[in-house]
Subunit: 230 residues, 2 copies
């Protein structure tokens, strides 16, 4: 391979929001509310995957959704229409990610997710983060787990290019498996690259459009929520 | 449509780097160097599009490339191998975008793009920004023009969800047109949404894999470079 010049441009963007995130996670634990932070690049199919997943779980547990977006509310409306669960839109005002404080603001506006009265609270809150593989990975939202969706058209090399995102996620859902024949996407290589970043990551191939494979993700999530409440 | 609650979470992330950007652009104008800032979501095909474009232009003008990435150098190596033009990798150290100062650092490391000796300078420098539809749109890099690539699998609704990105781009290249039959992507709607953000935007459908349509983008770019040098 040819050698190319590599220039390091270092600049810190990390705010210390870890303490806020831990405090929020502690409160969620006390109240038995499970928060999942779902991340992905734009257009990977987060909303469609959520709809499919929620429709498989909503009769078993109480679910609410927070949709973060720069300034539209199409996703929150779509979720509410397609699943009937409570859905709020978080406008980030241009921000490329959510931090723990912003997540708390969302939870406080949601039907009392942080209420001290058990009956009021959802069992599971899903935060659909801003579509972005960079910044959201750097800020702990206070979620119990991070999950991400990588879609086939994006390519199997993404864990090499966005290492932090893949390191912080416990589950990688590989979406749009229906179009695999039309792309140079190698699922085995993808799994290998993901495990370089996080050896314990669970990889779940799905097609959100048809619902294929979504059951496995829903089962993983239900087990997580159940364990969190113990 | 159902009504959903919308919560505004405002927080300013804008640094005032406009002055730096204008100064850099002024120097580039003096020296007759055209800088293009190319943006997109991860996996939209920026590098493949660049290779196809450069191979159509490199015998007519002198080209150099700056590849911004969080920490890999696969793109810079790929560009150099596939086109032979000078290519440097800019490591952003976790940063989700480039600002004007970082761009200047890149240019200073490139074969003297900012040299006062004309013969040393490239005619065109292409900056491949970090794969991200949010943050790069907020920071003027000092480029003469912003261009972006939207790929068919990402969906035609992206101009609704990432309004600033589409507002700041003069050209939107719609890539992966070969897989149009397999996605619910409406090119006319996409054009309509793009024009809501930027009525003057040029939209160029291409397939970077086969090279189809790339000629039109190359021609646009060559005309731009020629006009900039006048």
């Amino acid at each position: 391979m040819d050698e190319v010049k590599v220039i390091e441009i270092k600049k810190s963007i990390f705010e210390d929001n870890d303490r806020d995130a831990d405090r929020l996670r502690g409160e969620l634990k006390e109240r038995g509310v499970y928060l999942l932070n779902l991340m992905s690049a734009p257009g990977s199919g987060k909303t469609t995957t959520l709809i499919q997943t929620i429709n498989r779980l909503k009769d078993k547990i109480r679910i609410a959704v927070m949709e973060a977006d720069i300034d539209s509310d199409v996703d929150a409306v779509k979720i509410k229409e397609a699943t009937g669960v409570e859905s709020v839109q978080l406008h980030t005002g241009g921000m490329c990610h959510l931090d723990a404080e912003m997540t708390r603001q969302g939870l406080e506006n949601l039907t009392p997710a942080l209420s001290t009265r058990e009956g009021d609270r959802p069992d599971l809150v899903i935060l659909e983060n801003v579509g972005n593989l960079v910044c959201p990975a750097e800020f702990d939202t206070g979620a119990v787990r991070n999950a991400m969706i990588l879609s086939v058209p994006e390519g199997h090399d993404k864990p090499l290019k966005y290492p932090l995102m893949f390191s912080v996620c416990d589950v990688v859902v590989v979406n749009k498996m229906d179009v695999l024949p039309y792309f140079d996407f190698d699922l085995d290589k993808c799994k290998e690259y993901i495990r370089m970043r996080n050896p314990k990551a669970t990889v779940i191939p799905i097609c959100a459009k048809t619902g294929e494979g979504v059951e496995q993700f829903a089962e993983w999530l239900l087990k997580e929520v159940t364990n969190w409440k113990k």
